[in-house]
């Protein structure tokens, strides 16, 4: 269909805003969906690693106002372990059984009349722990004499696979220059302002669990929750709250808590509400992974990148929770980044440590992957004496090569990377900036420029996670592929339109964009259209990929909305055609009417035509079904399963980002001033420029925060040192550098409107762009975020490097 229309592409202010601005939007903690709710609080382990010798709940149970108490063993007796995507002998329960494996792991649950009383009772629980040696460093966790988190596994390595594309051995053997960097990427989290929360109710007849929550999906996890609760899918009803206060992936990691609350509701016979508090969130929710190890890049002397070797050691924390090991596979099929290189070797190890289990977080796997790749590009440029922009230009997938099949299987849909680079250099005033840098360096100042580029995979193929299995294991497990998008559009008897997207947004403006897309198809305005974005697994049209992650809204869901809207539009046109006594092809929907093309005075109000489908079925065109209730289901084409060479088309669209940072460092204090930051994006067709810009700036904030200050720190005993917002330093307004945004948008042939997914954006690149600039400023390559004051000063003073 045509790219865009009147509303698509316009900076439409958001439908969501009025309720949010006036305090009338409803979030999970505002909901009281059933009477008689009790409030849950969780006792959490103070130890990183300890045997639980006993849990005495007697005094807590007797405390006035307490309704019930449960230990991990009570829960484990009632449910099965939560299934994993990796076949290892680990029984993962939502509360610790026998052993605690991270500080913050739930040990016991109290249900009480309110949260105050529940917390009082937590203090009356007596737990006898026998501390065990903590395993915190992922490299040390692989030592033969390291303590084991999961004895039955026999190792702390829970996943190991090697991959080879092209001929990396020859590429490295014949390289003019090999650049090797040992690197560590820290652990941090996007810490949404609204924490996780859920209300669970078990009804004995028919025995059904209902959970209201701010869970973001993916709803493939519904199947895992059913597995643990041992019920078929129609007996676990998940309902999301109307609004979610941010997620960035983190609210994917709450599903074990949903299982816990559901089980506890059944065992205690009451509906239970649990609103995670901020301290719980920081030690017990989820975070991005810390990843480390080595990257090697083989270059010819002219700067041509001929081979890449990645060795990734991923610290998954205490348990490997689904969808892990996806974080190390999300970028895998695009391991060449934006470059033509065909010879790639990848060695992935996932290691358990006594830290919080990891999960989705903005950019999922991207910040870590691009840190390795893009550090190697800048370091390679310096080693070869080639300009950092020029070396990328020489290696980019060229604009005429799209669609481009990457060596590990990704199909890059569209792009013009060189044009985006040029736009970046132009916006940054690159030549002048380089001259300024050279002058500053000559004068003894610490000034550096860093570049970084990324492709932005969007709309995941659910099958990419199965790269964790060997081709033989995959064959045995049966086929997996696709990433379904769904949308239902209905028109009620009054003729008003409702769009249901089941896309569970957390601030991304889905309702606005959905209304824009539907308005164009139906000849209405976005204000005419109501949008419901939440999901109810019992009544919504949903599938495994439903939910909000991997930039899937504009790459997948929008097409489902468009499909459903076109089906509805076709029906309206057919109904109107009869009354207007013309052919359906001659009817257009515009300005709230169905009218004859070229004869605008021959028109009918849209509402009246639509209402007819309800009020007068006998008057409809012959054979037409009455009512208007259209569901579109689509799986984007080309998302097949991995092949025998472990190649998979991992996503629908591949945007592009080019970031440039220039920094100056105060040698006296280690303070970094980011004088220039330019980010140029290719998001395909822009559906709503206001929202696109908002997503870019928001992603930038997360990236800069990770680059400069945010880190989930553990001491050597596994105690979390960033367990409050006084210690976990979320970036605030004064620390935000000025961001210059540019666009070189190439429409995607993989989507109907040409839109690509976007949203991860600079969250993936700011850490490496800043690191590259710091490396340039300091003249050393062993630099790693977060570039806190103290760490930078150490680097300036000659210490504090990596490794």
């Amino acid at each position: 269909m045509s790219a865009g229309g009147f509303w698509v592409g316009a900076p439409v202010p958001r439908k969501e805003d009025e309720a949010l601005l006036t305090g009338h939007a409803r979030f999970i903690d505002d909901m009281e969906p059933v009477p008689g709710i009790r409030h849950a609080a969780l006792l959490r382990s103070p130890h990183a690693h300890a045997e639980i010798r006993s849990v005495d709940l007697t005094r807590a149970a007797a405390h006035p106002g307490v309704h019930g108490v449960l230990s991990g063993a009570d829960i484990a007796a009632a449910i099965g372990p939560i299934p994993s995507a990796v076949r290892v002998p680990i029984d993962y329960y939502p509360m610790a059984v026998g052993k605690v494996r991270y500080a913050g792991e739930p040990v016991a649950l109290i249900a009480a009349e309110d949260r105050y009383v529940a917390e009082d009772a937590l203090e009356l629980i007596e737990v006898d722990y026998r501390p065990l040696p903590p395993v915190i460093d992922p490299k040390a966790a692989m030592d033969d004499d390291a303590a084991l988190l999961h004895e039955a596994v026999g190792s702390n390595v829970v996943h190991h696979r090697e991959f080879r594309y092209g001929d990396p051995e020859t590429a490295f053997a014949e390289a003019d220059r090999i650049v090797r960097l040992d690197w560590t990427f820290p652990r941090y989290s996007s810490t949404p302002m609204e924490t996780c929360g859920a209300i669970a109710q078990f009804e004995p007849a028919p025995d059904r669990y209902t959970i209201w929550s701010n869970f973001q999906g993916p709803f493939i996890l519904h199947a895992l929750m059913c597995g643990a609760l041992r019920v078929p899918g129609n007996r676990l009803r998940l309902i999301t709250a109307p609004q979610s206060g941010g997620s960035f992936g983190i609210k994917q990691g709450m599903y074990p808590y949903m299982v816990l609350l559901a089980a506890a509701s059944r065992l205690l016979g009451v509906p239970l509400k649990w609103i995670e508090d901020r301290l719980e969130h920081l030690v017990g929710s989820s975070s991005a992974s810390n990843r480390e190890d080595a990257v090697e890049a083989a270059f010819r002397s002219d700067g041509t990148l001929t081979g890449l070797r990645f060795r990734n050691t991923v610290d998954v924390g205490a348990y490997i929770r689904a969808p892990e090991p996806a974080s190390v596979y999300r970028m895998h099929s695009a391991s060449n980044g934006a470059y033509r290189v065909r010879n790639i070797a990848v060695d992935n190890r996932l290691v358990t440590t006594n830290r919080l289990p990891i999960g989705l977080n903005r950019g999922y796997g991207g910040p870590q992957f691009f840190f390795a790749l893009e550090r190697a590009m800048d370091a390679g440029a310096r080693a070869l004496g080639i300009d950092i922009a020029e070396i990328r230009r020489r290696n980019f997938v060229p604009a005429d090569a799209f669609p481009y099949r990457a060596p590990a299987g990704a199909l890059y849909d569209a792009g013009d990377y060189e044009a985006a680079l040029d736009r970046t250099l132009d916006l940054a005033g690159y030549a002048a900036l380089c001259a300024e840098r050279d002058r500053a360096k000559a004068d003894g100042w610490l000034f550096g420029i860093g570049l970084a580029t990324a492709i932005e995979p969007s709309g995941s193929n659910m099958a990419y996670v199965t790269l964790a299995q060997t081709p033989e294991e995959r064959a045995r497990a049966g086929g997996r592929s696709g990433g379904l998008g769904t949308c239902t559009i209905s028109i009620d008897p009054s003729g008003s339109v409702t769009v249901k997207t089941v896309s569970t947004p957390a601030g991304q403006g889905h309702a606005t964009v959905a209304a824009q897309v539907a308005a164009d198809a139906l000849g209405l305005t976005p204000d005419d259209i109501d949008v419901v974005t939440e999901i109810d697994t019992l009544t919504s049209a949903w599938s495994l990929a439903s939910g909000n992650y991997a930039n899937r809204f504009s790459s997948v869901v929008v097409d489902a909305i468009g499909n459903a809207a076109r089906t509805v539009a076709e029906k309206i046109r057919m109904i109107a055609a009869e009354d207007l006594e013309v052919a359906a092809e001659d009817v257009e929907l515009a300005d709230g009417t169905a009218r004859v093309v070229g004869v605008p005075e021959k028109s009918l109000p849209f509402r009246r035509v639509a209402a007819k489908a309800h009020w007068h079925p006998a008057g409809l065109p012959e054979g037409m079904a009455p009512g208007i209730f259209e569901t579109a289901v689509l799986s984007p084409p080309g998302l097949g399963p991995p092949d025998e060479q472990d190649r998979v088309a991992s996503a629908v669209t591949f945007g592009f980002i080019c970031d440039l940072a220039a920094v100056e460092i105060d040698p006296g204090t280690g303070r970094i001033e980011i004088g220039t930051y330019v980010s140029v994006h290719d998001v395909g067709k822009v559906l709503n420029p206001l929202i696109v810009e908002g997503q870019i700036v928001g992603g930038f904030a997360h990236g800069i925060a990770g680059a400069l200050m945010e880190e989930m720190v553990y001491d050597e005993d596994g105690n979390p040192l960033s367990g409050s917002f006084a210690d976990y330093l979320c970036i605030t307004a004064p620390e935000m550098p000025r961001l210059t945004i540019g666009h070189v948008d190439t429409p995607s042939p993989h989507t109907a409107l040409g839109a690509k997914g976007m949203g991860d954006g600079c969250s993936m690149l700011a850490p490496v762009a800043i690191a590259n600039a710091v490396a340039d400023a300091l003249g050393r390559e062993d630099v790693e975020p977060p570039f806190t004051l103290n760490r930078v000063w150490d680097l300036v003073a000659g210490g504090g490097g990596a490794g």
Binding site: D120, L279, G670, V713, L721, L789, N790
Partner: protein, 290 residues
């Protein structure tokens, strides 16, 4: 994250507050702005049997000027102090430090007295009080005393206040002519407690040499500290002297080490920031009074 149970006691007069303090002693916490006590209560790190809410006590609010000092009531809100011309004129060092205290929203409620009582080693208000040679006015039933800031701060969150005592006011001594002040701090984020804060006071002789200078260090040791720079009296008021003084202070400091910063980094900040504020204070002392 909810506080443990406590008895709430609202004092409407100073006498009521002192009665309550006498009754509960160490079992009660005095609630002023609550910007530091509140989080500790919510996290159950503080578990007093009773809270003595002194906010209604009018006698503890306000700013009073006396012959030799400015007295700020314990309940003087940081926002009011920041907007006070009296403080700007009388204790410019405090005025310079106040924008670094928390945020607009916490200064709206947080008090000068509360910050001093809380005694966070890196807090700005205690550092300003110490550097200016101020004192803390304490009352218990039937008795009052003034403790010099230098003796008041005893360690992390530890002060010379007895449990039955309530801080009623802070005393900011009147400065003389040819005195200059300056304040600076470094924190990872604006509004955070400082990794290191420095406050300088320089008094010049009529000829322009240094009569006295002091450099207060916050966030460096377990309490705000004054570096002993008496040896530099008589030295010329030059950047070199400022650097020398700061280096001297840095060498003699015994910095703490925590996840935010190493001892070496804190020492470095004393050296760098100390020189900057001493130099600025010298310039201000030399400038015609403003």
């Amino acid at each position: 994250m909810k506080p443990a149970p406590f008895e709430y006691c609202r004092a409407d007069t100073l006498d009521e507050a002192l009665d309550l303090a006498a009754e509960f002693g160490a079992d009660a916490s005095v609630l002023a702005g609550g910007m530091s006590l509140g989080p500790m209560l919510n996290m159950r790190l503080a578990r007093p049997a009773a809270l003595i809410d002194i906010n209604p006590v009018e006698a503890l609010a306000g700013i009073r000027e006396s012959e030799d000092a400015l007295e700020t009531g314990a309940l003087c809100r940081q926002a009011d102090a920041l907007g006070s011309g009296l403080i700007g004129g009388f204790a410019p060092l405090l005025a310079e430090a106040l924008p670094f205290v928390g945020h607009f929203q916490t200064r709206n409620r947080g008090t000068l007295g509360g910050s001093v009582c809380h005694a966070d080693p890196s807090a700005e208000i205690p550092l300003a009080l110490l550097t200016l040679g101020g004192g803390i006015v304490l009352r218990r039933k039937g008795r009052a005393r003034t403790v010099p800031a230098e003796a008041f701060f005893e360690g992390i969150f530890a002060t010379a206040r007895e449990p039955e005592e309530i801080v009623t006011a802070l005393r900011w001594p009147r400065g003389g002519a040819r005195i200059g002040h300056a304040f600076a701090e470094i924190a990872q984020r604006h509004g955070d407690f400082a990794i290191a804060a420095v406050a300088a006071t320089v008094a010049l002789r009529p000829g322009g040499d240094i009569a006295a200078l002091s450099l207060g260090l916050g966030g460096v040791e377990d309490r705000p500290r004054l570096a002993d720079l008496s040896g530099l009296a008589g030295a010329p008021a030059t950047p070199a002297t400022a650097a020398e003084a700061a280096a001297f202070a840095a060498d003699r400091a015994d910095p703490i080490e925590d996840p935010k910063a190493s001892a070496a980094y804190r020492r470095q900040l004393v050296r760098v920031l100390g020189a900057r504020v001493l130099e600025r204070a010298m310039e201000r002392a030399a400038a015609p009074s403003c």
